[in-house]
Symmetry: C2
Subunit: 492 residues, 2 copies
């Protein structure tokens, strides 16, 4: 049994809890202090870590200092530093002190709020904060608990999509008269929609061949055409299919494109197709009055999701989902096992969030979003968004001023999609040139960007918006881009 004994084994002793936690707080503060010293993208080779760590667990307890030394020596070199101010890849994942404090309280209380009674505060704060957030986005009251809808916090967009798809699937199957009609159900999205929707649709049993990828084009800024959607729906109906759900996006991943919600909503309503809006990235911007128009027509949608864990200063993970008819979610996802039966649930006066999501267990994520909103206030949250967009505008101006470069699509939000102009003789339209440029930038360790292909064109994506990014980082990034481009163009 080793050396453990009742007296020495106190894994949650408040005094050592406070001591050790403060040591780790200082460790993390030090990490932020020094974060610019690390190469943004990790430079390790596959398998690097197994060479540094034992291949089985220790028998005896190890001191915290040994573990933290290994975190410094073995883990940090293998991190791609998402919190680095020089991280411009994918979409940012905003950490903040407020988000961290919320995570600490969530983890400290460690309650499992599957139903109301299992921790009423976890459920009620979530309902309140979902209404707060919905009001910040000026969602119609049909999406709020204060109205006739409601919201829930998921871990990811895919989870939200799975639940929405299951809800609408089950409603459709009931109307069609049984599960054998599953192969008739069709889901619509654009070729710019996040791939997570295809994955979610397949997960809930929609045959992949029933997923329609509506083609977009450069001419419409890669936004979805309501006419093409209408025609696809009409074709499917003619062929005996049942159009189920249309996913529109505010701020697509490749280029930040915005689908025309109102027009798509009209088509969806006409054919009784569920309209889901994925505002994972750009939803955050819609708290600013000047960007709210991107959500015009949201009242025609059935559900909408956005991710505070991207651009809203909320540490991972946190995805908001609002739905107009929560009963469709709970009809599809609810369960009533004896062990969870209780008076409050029976009364129907309370929300049992287990019936709004995939899992039974759930973390108290609402604390985090609540603290993020209160600690910053709408004023600073808007400042955060506006400041990032101002920096993106500045980067866009750098690109436009240098005639070797071009913007591939107009900037949307804080995402700049640009490239080195291909030379006339380049058969691949500059694909290889720009691929090399991204590689040169990233392998410098001084910044990290990613790429996309839109309309066949290879674009470099500069997503501005980590919590620590300031103007001088953007200035330095542009100098780095120019420097690497210069070298490439000389050697090309």
């Amino acid at each position: 049994m080793g050396s453990a004994s009742k007296n020495t084994f106190l894994p949650l002793d408040p005094v050592s809890f406070a001591d050790e936690s403060k040591t780790v707080v200082d460790f993390i503060a030090d990490y932020y202090e020094n974060i610019e010293k690390y190469p943004v993208q990790s430079t390790v080779e596959p398998g690097y870590l197994s060479a540094r760590l034992p291949d089985s667990a220790p028998y005896c307890p190890e001191p915290l200092e040994d573990i933290l030394k290994d975190v410094s020596d073995c883990i940090i070199p293998g991190l791609t530093h998402w919190q680095s101010p020089n991280f411009f890849a994918y979409f940012q994942a905003n950490a903040s002190t407020a988000g961290f404090l919320g995570e600490m309280l969530c983890s400290g209380f460690n309650v499992v709020g599957f139903n109301w009674i299992s921790s009423p505060a976890a459920t009620e704060l979530e309902s309140i904060v979902m209404d707060w957030m919905g009001k910040l986005l000026m969602l119609p009251s049909s999406f709020l608990f204060a109205g006739t809808g409601g919201g829930v916090l998921h871990g990811s967009t895919c989870e939200a999509a799975v639940c929405v798809l299951a809800a609408t699937r089950d409603k459709a199957l009931e109307e069609l008269g049984g599960w054998e009609h599953m192969t008739k159900l069709v889901v619509y999205a654009s070729d710019q929609t996040h791939f997570t929707f295809q994955k979610a649709a397949k997960l809930v049993g929609i045959p992949p061949s029933n997923f329609r990828l509506i083609e977009t084009s450069f001419s419409t800024g890669f936004s979805m055409s309501p006419e093409i959607v209408r025609s696809a729906i009409e074709d499917d109906i003619k062929s005996g299919f049942v159009p189920l759900l249309l996913c529109a996006t505010i701020g697509t991943t490749p280029t930040g494109a915005v689908d025309p919600i109102r027009e798509l909503g009209k088509v969806a309503m006409e054919f009784k197709v569920w309209l889901h809006i994925d505002a994972a990235y750009a939803g955050s911007a819609c708290i600013c009055p000047e960007f709210r128009h991107y959500l015009d027509g949201v009242e025609l949608a059935n559900s909408i999701s956005m991710n505070p864990h991207k651009w809203f200063l909320t540490n991972m993970d946190c995805c908001c989902l609002w739905i107009k008819e929560p009963n469709l979610l709970t009809d599809s996802l609810s369960s009533d096992p004896e062990i969870l039966r209780n008076k409050a649930s029976r009364s129907k006066e309370v929300v049992d969030y287990k019936d709004w999501q995939i899992a039974l267990s759930r973390r108290f994520r609402a604390l985090k979003l609540w603290i993020v909103i209160r600690r910053h206030g709408l004023a600073n949250l808007m400042y955060h968004i506006r400041n990032d967009i101002a920096m993106a505008k500045c980067f866009e101006a750098f690109v436009r001023k240098d005639e070797r470069f071009e913007m591939v699509v107009p900037r949307k939000f804080a995402l700049v999609c640009f490239r080195l102009k291909p030379k006339a003789e380049e058969e691949d339209e500059g694909r290889e040139l720009n691929r090399k440029l991204v590689e040169a930038i990233n392998s410098s360790g001084r910044a990290f960007m990613s790429h996309a292909v839109a309309g066949g064109i290879y674009v470099i994506r500069c997503a501005i918006g980590t919590t620590l990014t300031q103007q001088h980082h953007v200035d330095d990034l542009w100098k780095l881009v120019q420097e690497k481009a210069q070298t490439l163009l000389i050697n090309n």
Copy 2:
């Protein structure tokens, strides 16, 4: 734009990060210090919180002290205290200092390890720690990366079940020749299996009428009979169905029952049915050699999951899933969008965990489990399990010594299922009496237990194993049970 400005808005400033985080560390330490002063089950009424909080977000930032005051005054009264040593309901959700430190580092780094390149350490540590954990459970190497399998951390059992079901579904549909065969697929579990499997099966599109609930009985301790399973499978095959997956449980939720893995495995193999083992609760106990026998026959299974966030000192959320053929998971769940394409993934030398789970985004949970294992060592982890089981044995002895009570089923692990013996004249076999007893105990605020119904019998579940529970809490619990029973029996 409010009062925000570039100079004052620093949402991740290392100095204030450290200061504010330490304030919250002290707040949580104080919570643990005083946790026994709160009623274990919250006594608030539905809607209590909306009466105490504003109905929309503040415009201006608020000081941390105001927020923490609201946590004390508004949130804590609405918590059911899962970390209280007097919490004996459901299954425990172990917090520990080590688990908390791991959560802090995870949230502090806030990396999104969807594929290898997006943070190599997050992927590699997860693979290493899954092998560590697998070895602690003495899983055959066919489940380990060191062998031919592999493991992944999910957030919940339901998520793991969805992924396993989708993998086996897609393999079966491919063999059957198309998605129109979905209505043929059948899933098997017992009437004691966690309801999450029914939910997961429905989520992936298995018609609910194709979910077979194998009946269990008191005589076999509510474990699943291989003969009944065989006969159900044979019946389904005769009727043209395709048996897909059988879920066996180590430590069921109602009574801690253990399904006979080896015998079920033989049946599953014979009919080429996927065997999944759900060891969410009792898997942790199998790190002790004396309990490892419950996993005998695991080599016949295709996948197994267990939850360190229950009984393994790991704060929420953390669910381990091992699978013998990871390629079946990735065949079903993988995606290859341009934006994520990279050399490492193309080389096939690395794991991209986005293809092992539902979501794209993922937290660095491996840090948490790694620190939990190292900080305690196998020695103390076994001590933790054994100590809880010793306390459960003690509670069982209390029950057996008092002739007003009876054990409904033999104790398994640290779960004691007991009841007040019904009087001969009680038509409901003591259901109302025991329901009242649970209510009296819970409403005292001094302890919190839950109930189950097994074989038609209403049982009181005493799940021992919160991190802070010590022998004197179990002694006090029994005194409370006796006191409330005495009052009930006198008034009855």
